[in-house]
């Protein structure tokens, strides 16, 4: 079986940010340095080689792309300054663009100006779409769901979710099939019998529970940071707080919706701060805004390898998350202010529009890593289990 090389792969990857990777002469120092490199995954040398040679399918089906946390050790030790860490980041961007069949992702990554215009246009579309059906602005108390009808938000949200899920599933399935083939795994071998199913469930737990929510390896990698950052600035914590915050807000929204469905509380009813859905939302919001703010500060100050280079897509995700989180607090504030300030209504409209955009664009932006990383981590856990059995 011979692989026809894709002669354009490397130049294409460079459009996604792997500027210096031609300097790599495959010495393997990066692999030797990488804290993740073990029997179950060797990188980043192999991935760079795939890119140089033009082995597109092999690159896109490498689970290792997504297990990298961009700690930067490889880039620090690279004798040719080929910046392997940044290559891995670029290859992930390229992978997101490749799994997406619409081409939108490629534009967002490789054409920052057009991408920014699209980002603004999508938010503007949602805002105008909802403003078109707006109700009166109550001046006595902030009646947000009168201004923008709750049903409209609800059904628009459902529609956005459907689009997102379809695009997401297409991407995830594309990736998972590729990785499974690369790892020589069959569906029967993964889910076929009880034992296989047990291994897969364990791998799923490792992927979603231990790694995605628990951030285990990310935490361990940060142990070696030199100098060791204070806890509140450590990369794993900032990332974990962002994840937990986002999941918390998602949970609060679902809880609120659940309470409305069960008739306990109607959406939009004023509730005290201790009320479970509100308490969760507030804490999660603080967590998200703190994490995202720190990420933005890091990028401005180039504090580490991962924050040394920023693309438009990096900023797009952070900005959307930050606006969603921060505008939520402005709405909170507006709720407490007397005389229901008019800006409260506009901030709410803005908040909803950006949140919609965030979800809609998820499979097309850097946010897509939240879908692809767990898939890779699932295969990684399976491989680790396999090599443990073979040992």
């Amino acid at each position: 079986m011979t692989t026809i090389v894709d002669t354009d792969l490397l130049s294409d990857l460079k459009k996604f940010g792997a500027a210096d990777v031609s300097a790599c002469f495959s010495c393997g120092t990066c692999t030797a340095t990488c804290p993740l490199s073990d029997n179950d995954g060797t990188f980043p040398r192999r991935m760079i080689r795939y890119a140089q040679v033009g082995m597109k399918d092999e690159l896109l089906s490498s689970k290792e792309l997504w297990t990298c946390y961009h700690c930067g050790l490889c880039s620090d030790s690279c004798p040719t300054e080929a910046d392997p860490g940044e290559f891995m980041a670029a290859a992930r961007r390229y992978a997101v663009a490749s799994y997406d069949k619409t081409g939108l992702s490629r534009i967002l990554y490789t054409r920052p100006v057009v991408g920014s215009i699209i980002a603004v246009a999508v938010a503007a579309f949602f805002a105008l779409f909802m403003y078109a059906s707006h109700g009166p602005q109550d001046t006595a108390s902030l009646a947000l769901f009168t201004f923008v009808p709750e049903g409209l938000i609800h059904w628009t949200g459902i529609a956005v979710m459907v689009v997102m899920v379809i695009a997401g599933i297409v991407g995830v399935v594309t990736m998972a099939r590729g990785v499974a083939q690369h790892e020589k795994l069959t569906l029967a071998g993964t889910l076929g019998d009880r034992a296989a199913l047990g291994r897969s469930v364990a791998a799923l737990w490792s992927s979603l529970g231990v790694e995605s929510v628990g951030q285990r390896r990310y935490r361990e990698d940060c142990k070696d940071d030199n100098p060791l950052e204070p806890l509140y600035r450590r990369r794993w914590l900032i990332h974990a707080l962002s994840i937990w915050g986002f999941l918390g807000l998602l949970g609060a929204t679902i809880l609120d919706w659940g309470l409305a469905l069960t008739g306990v509380k109607e959406t939009g009813t004023p509730i005290p701060l201790w009320y479970p859905s509100r308490l969760l939302g507030t804490i999660a919001g603080i967590s998200l805004v703190y994490g995202v703010t720190m990420f933005m500060v890091n990028r401005v100050r180039h504090v580490n390898r991962a924050a040394a280079q920023s693309t438009a897509s990096d900023w797009l995700l952070l900005v959307l998350l930050w606006i969603t989180g921060a505008s939520g607090f402005f709405i909170e504030a507006a709720l407490y202010l007397p005389d229901a300030p008019a800006w409260g209504y506009w901030v709410f409209l803005f908040h909803v529009a950006v949140a919609m955009e965030l979800m809609l664009l998820m499979p097309f932006t850097k946010f897509a890593h939240a879908m692809y990383r767990p898939v890779a981590l699932f295969f990684y856990a399976l491989a680790a289990d396999r090599s443990k059995q073979n040992a």
Binding site: T3, V5, T7, D8, L10, F25, Q52, V53
Partner: protein
């Protein structure tokens, strides 16, 4: 020899190398009754400065007329002790070195008695030979201040200028109608992008300003006669019957190389779009802007390295060493003209040695991809239906999987092969190595001299070289020529064959034996006798045993000396 000789014998311990296995005292004792051995000593290190001084003192005070040192191989110290003799005003050819280290102590470490006995025999042989030695003086020959340079490539042209600048006349003989050789056909060359034809034009212009250089193009050396420092050459120019005769002191052979011509089908050679390195370089140099081949833009190039070189035993096993750098440099030129071009270098090790390493780095920065293939899995080349040339290769850095590169052009990086110069090789009796290139005497210490005195080799005729290395060796040949010719005379080793005219019957059997054409027949007192040119003779001794009348003697190794040696060696041991 009617008169008694006065010989000094020194037996060396070699710090134990000899004395651990040979009873050196017993060796010394063996000569106590020989009246002609005036001095017999043992010494810890014969080659030590102090010992050398003692020898000189002994020679002078005891009026020695022969010297024997029993120590190591003559290869190591014959010159040392000849020097000792010379400094003590003793004829250096009255010195004999006896090798008791390699031939006795080291060879018989398990048999002290036998080794000692053998050492005594060897020293006896040496003493016997020395007793019959006669003083010999170096032959002095006048030399002509002109050098013939065969080959007008970059090495030959630069050498010609160097020779002219130190005051020697030069005749350049070039087989082709124009000067310049390979370099003259090249565009920008590594490492500094100077154009080959510009460099040759510069050299030719320099030559034009030097009237002492004459040039014969479309010319071939057809005969060489005469002796060291005084050769008479004949050159055929433009194929004419009339030959140009030139007398020269030395000859510098700088005939260059041929590029390897792949066999049909070797790495796809013969398929459209598969080129050799010289053809590719011509293609690159013949246009500007993005590279095109037969009217089509070249987007992907695959280079297959080591074609015709580093082959398995029996083939061209050597490395041509210029081709990696030349190819990498060519790929940089292509990338500089078209940054979108894809270039794959399929190699078995990239040897851009020394400063040329920077070219390798630059080419990678310009996007060249290097793929090392295992020796036992060479790439295959085939034409595809869509008009590409597909190169299939296993990249050792990626894994064992086969990769296929759809290329527009495949360049077979062909190395150097020895040029077919049978006529010249036979004419000058140049030594040819197993690889087909000319051999020097010593790769490090005598890199441009050949065993044919006065004939030097320079440039790639000696073995693969870059242009700068060729020029360097050309200039080394200038120095060697100067060393021979600038004094106006040369001293030759007197250890040559002579004919005892009285005994010679004129059978001429020796004439055909001589590999150096040193023997000829002359008329002497009305009969044919053989005569040997001392300047041409190399002292190989090949003629002496052929002579049925024992009419030929090799000076320093005469029949009488050799017989006496054998008798000394086989004499009953003293017990």
């Amino acid at each position: 020899m009617s008169e008694d000789r006065r010989i000094g014998v020194y037996i060396c311990h070699c710090g134990g190398n000899i004395s651990d296995y040979v009873d050196v005292e017993k060796v010394r004792e063996a000569f106590k009754d020989d009246p002609e051995v005036v001095v017999a000593e043992t010494t810890m290190f014969a080659c030590a400065d102090g010992t050398q001084h003692e020898m000189i003192r002994d020679i002078q005070e005891k009026k020695l007329d022969g010297l024997v040192v029993a120590s190591c191989s003559p290869k190591l110290h014959q010159i040392t002790f000849r020097g000792v003799a010379k400094r003590a005003d003793l004829n250096p050819y009255a010195y004999t070195q006896v090798n008791v280290r390699e031939q006795a102590s080291w060879a018989h470490t398990d048999d002290r008695e036998g080794a000692t006995e053998k050492a005594i025999g060897l020293v006896r042989a040496g003493v016997a030979k020395t007793k019959l030695s006669t003083p010999l003086e170096p032959l002095v020959v006048k030399t002509l201040p002109r050098t013939m340079v065969v080959g007008g490539g970059v090495a030959g042209l630069r050498a010609a200028i160097g020779l002219a600048d130190i005051g020697l006349a030069v005749t350049i003989v070039e087989r082709a109608p124009t000067l310049g050789g390979w370099v003259g056909q090249l565009g920008a060359m590594f490492p500094h992008d100077t154009k080959g034809h510009d460099q040759i034009a510069h050299l030719v212009a320099e030559i034009a300003t030097r009237p002492s250089i004459s040039i014969l193009t479309d010319a071939e050396l057809v005969s060489k006669s005469g002796s060291f420092g005084n050769y008479v050459t004949e050159v055929r120019v433009h194929g004419q019957d009339e030959l140009v005769t030139t007398e020269v002191g030395t000859i510098v052979v700088a005939t260059g190389f041929d590029s390897y011509e792949p066999e049909a089908g070797e790495f796809g050679y013969g398929i459209e779009g598969v080129l050799t390195l010289p053809d590719f370089m011509t293609l690159v140099d013949s246009s500007d802007g993005p590279l095109t081949y037969q009217g089509k833009r070249v987007k992907t190039i695959a280079y297959v390295y080591c074609v015709g070189n580093r082959q398995p035993a029996g083939g061209n096993e050597y490395c041509s060493k210029f081709c990696c750098s030349a190819t990498v440099h060519a790929s940089i030129k292509v990338a500089a003209r078209d940054s979108g071009v894809h270039q794959y270098h399929l190699h078995r090790d990239i040897r851009t040695y020394g400063k040329y390493e920077l070219l390798y780095t630059e080419s990678r920065e310009r996007g060249s991809v290097y793929m090392r293939f295992p020796d036992d899995t060479p790439p295959t080349v085939a034409r595809t239906a869509d008009g590409h040339v597909a190169v299939t290769v296993v990249d050792a850095l990626t894994g064992s999987e086969e990769l296929t590169i759809p290329a527009d052009l495949v360049v077979l990086v062909t190395g150097m092969v020895p040029r077919d110069n049978t006529g010249l090789t036979d004419l000058l009796k140049l030594p040819v190595g197993g690889d087909g290139f000319y051999n020097e005497i010593h790769p490090k210490l005598r890199p441009v001299e050949t065993v044919v005195s006065g004939v030097m080799i320079a440039g790639a005729c000696q073995g693969p070289k870059t242009a700068s290395e060729s020029v360097a060796s050309g200039l080394a040949a200038v120095t060697q020529s100067a060393g021979i010719l600038m004094k106006g005379f040369a001293e030759l080793d007197p250890l040559v064959a002579t004919v005892h005219t009285d005994a010679c019957t004129g059978c001429a059997a020796c004439v055909t034996t001589c590999p150096y054409d040193a023997i000829s027949m002359i008329m002497c007192d009305g009969r044919d006798v053989a005569t040997i040119s001392a300047a041409v003779c190399k002292g190989c001794g090949g003629c002496a045993p052929v002579c049925t009348e024992d009419a030929i003697d090799l000076l320093g190794y005469t029949d009488a000396q050799m017989r006496a040696s054998i008798e000394g060696l086989t004499k009953e041991p003293v017990s």
